[in-house]
Amino acid sequence: MSRISEGPVARVLKHGYLWVMLALVFMPFYVMLVISFKDNAQFYNRPWVPTLPLHWENWSEAWNTVGVYIANSIFLAVTATLIALAAAILAAYVFGRYRVPFGQLFWLGLIILMLMPGVANLIPLFNLMRNLNLLNSLVGLAIVTAAGGQVFCLYVLRNFIEDMPKEFFECARIDGASHLQQVIHVVIPQCGGIISALAIMSFVGAWNSFILPLITIRDPELLPLAVGLYRLQGAYVKQWGPLMAAYFISAVPLVILFAFTMRFFIRGISEGAIKG
């Protein structure tokens, strides 16, 4: 590891800086947690410090409102991630290993699309989804979210596969592996790290998606989290306690996800950054 020599002052400064930054970055957690146990009277009197009694009922009330949003978002994010990764892995194998006709054109198109502001296409996209009967449907939303999300996965994975020693694939070919078998036995095990990082990023992306569900989902019981919370804060005669509890609860699924995948995520980003 590459480190540098340091004196005690430098040491204190470095750790001090990081802890101050961490305190700031973690501030929202504190705010959410403290306020979530207050009723409005407590909140207006002493908003920033814990007060007794703790209003646990805020949490059940919050769960009753956001539970359905969370369920919707989980469905949306899982479906979109699966579709995006499945499509991206297959296509990345092809583009990483072969030069197919019109391949260059396809990539040029993707880059241009990346620069194109999404709003310009939003209305045509809306009309298209209406014609395909995908409006007001979580599946439809998942498919469209996946279509956008896979581009990034495709880009990263293609670079990865292109950099893999081609002997791996040739050896498998001589052994009689079909293209699909090469994907399953060679690509997926060896790109495991980056694939899990991409999966997490896709999931988080879908979890946070806002504009598209905002304009395509009408039924309140189909709303994913971001739009649900947005509506909630707009509509309420604000009950700050339950609201903050709801915010906190909506972070829980990602806490669980990250608890299990943090290692992959950090490693995957590092690998990806080196290759990409």
């Binding site: 498998a172 001589i174 095990p189």
Partner: protein, 380 residues
């Protein structure tokens, strides 16, 4: 078991890269052919066309009498060992070896037996449950070979399999591959850029350059009867010394004349180059055919020269001496045996064994002395 034949095979890569040109070659059933040449000369491409990993631009490749140009790699019944081994890092050694058989849906027992047999043969049984990153270079190499063996293919293809090993292991593995060939008796094509490896391993060696096969011969044939200056210089270490000059007839003998050195040709060589008197040629002589004159009484007066020692490298059994002709002329290397003890920066007398000399045309670089039976000359 199968023989491999190339009929006028050429390969042109995109961008008009002519990687292989008009190759005609027969690898006899059960033999080991070594394809040797400098890097980039088209060896891998040739091998990969046999494997089916590259399309054949022109000509035909036959394996076991069957034209395989359009046969998929998996149906050619070949196995290949790659320079970087290409062991799958996520599989154990066992699974690496079994992978090909599993894909071909062999029954589990059969797979198990074959893997264990191969492991035994290569003495890697204790490694079967390890993963590739827990293997040393030599072990990984064996596993890569093992993976090829389990398939019982008709032809083995090796693409520089020892290049990633250190010198000592390379020698050891070379011996093992030779032994393996003897045991299995399967046709093998072995690609290397290392001429020592080629010479020690091959029953037949094909020398390639710029996509052309220059000469196919037994190792000693290449050494003694190189068809061209390139082959002569490529085979042997240190490489053959070349001097540039003209052939002249003087006093009834033919002499090689360059600005700083003049040598009298041996009769048998003179006999075949007689028609080239007056032409520009290269004179070639191997380091091992230049002697300390004190230890070389056979030398004719005319072929003993005074030369300056620039560098002396004692290697134990022999000593390499870098010589310079007077007048800051040609540089040469000589390989003296351990009995002589030359010092650096001195003028010493060296004798040239001209019976072992070669003459090459200056323009075409082709050998003019191929007809000379070198073995016969050596014994006279």
């Amino acid at each position: 078991m199968a023989e491999v034949r190339f009929y006028d095979v050429s390969k042109v890569y995109e961008g008009d890269v002519h990687a292989v040109n008009d190759v005609n070659l027969t690898v006899e059933d059960g033999s080991l052919l070594v394809l040797v040449g400098p890097s980039g000369c088209g060896k891998s491409t040739t091998l990969r066309m046999v494997a089916g990993l590259e399309d054949i631009t022109e000509g035909d490749v036959h394996i076991g009498g069957r034209r395989v140009n359009d046969v998929l790699p998996k149906n050619r019944d070949i196995a290949m060992v790659f320079q970087n081994y290409a062991l799958y890092p996520h599989m154990t050694v066992y699974n690496n070896m079994a992978f090909g058989l599993k894909l071909r849906k062999y029954p589990g027992q059969e797979i198990d037996k074959r893997v264990h047999d191969a492991a035994e043969l290569l003495e890697i049984t204790p490694l079967l449950r390890r993963r590739p990153r827990e293997l040393s270079g030599g072990q990984a190499q064996r596993v890569a070979v093992g993976r090829a063996i389990v398939r019982h293919p008709k032809v083995f293809l090796f693409d520089e399999p020892l290049s990633n090993l250190d010198a000592k292991l390379r020698v050891q593995m070379r011996v093992e591959i030779a032994r393996l060939h003897e045991r299995l008796g399967t046709t093998m094509i072995y690609v290397t850029h290392d001429q020592v490896e080629a010479m020690t391993l091959g029953t037949k060696v094909a020398v390639m350059r710029d996509g052309y096969i220059l000469q196919v011969d037994e190792p000693l044939g290449l050494y003694n009867r190189p068809v061209s200056k390139f082959v002569a210089g490529f085979i042997g270490s240190p490489p053959m010394n070349f001097l540039e000059g003209t052939l002249e007839r003087k006093d009834g003998a033919i002499r090689f004349v360059s600005p700083n050195i003049e040598l009298k040709l041996d009769q048998m060589i003179a006999a075949v180059v007689g028609s080239h008197v007056g032409e520009r040629v290269y004179f070639g002589i191997r380091p091992e055919d230049i002697y300390d004159s004190a230890l070389f009484p056979e030398a004719e007066e005319d072929n003993i020269k005074s030369m300056h020692t620039e560098v002396v490298e004692p290697l134990g059994a022999e000593t390499l001496v870098y010589l310079r002709a007077p007048g800051a002329g040609e540089d040469m290397v000589a390989k003296f045996d351990s009995r002589s003890n030359p010092r650096v920066n001195q003028d010493i007398q060296v004798g040239f064994d001209v019976t072992k000399a070669y003459i090459f045309d200056r323009e075409t670089e082709e050998s003019l002395t191929r007809q000379v039976a070198q073995d016969g000359a050596a014994s006279s």
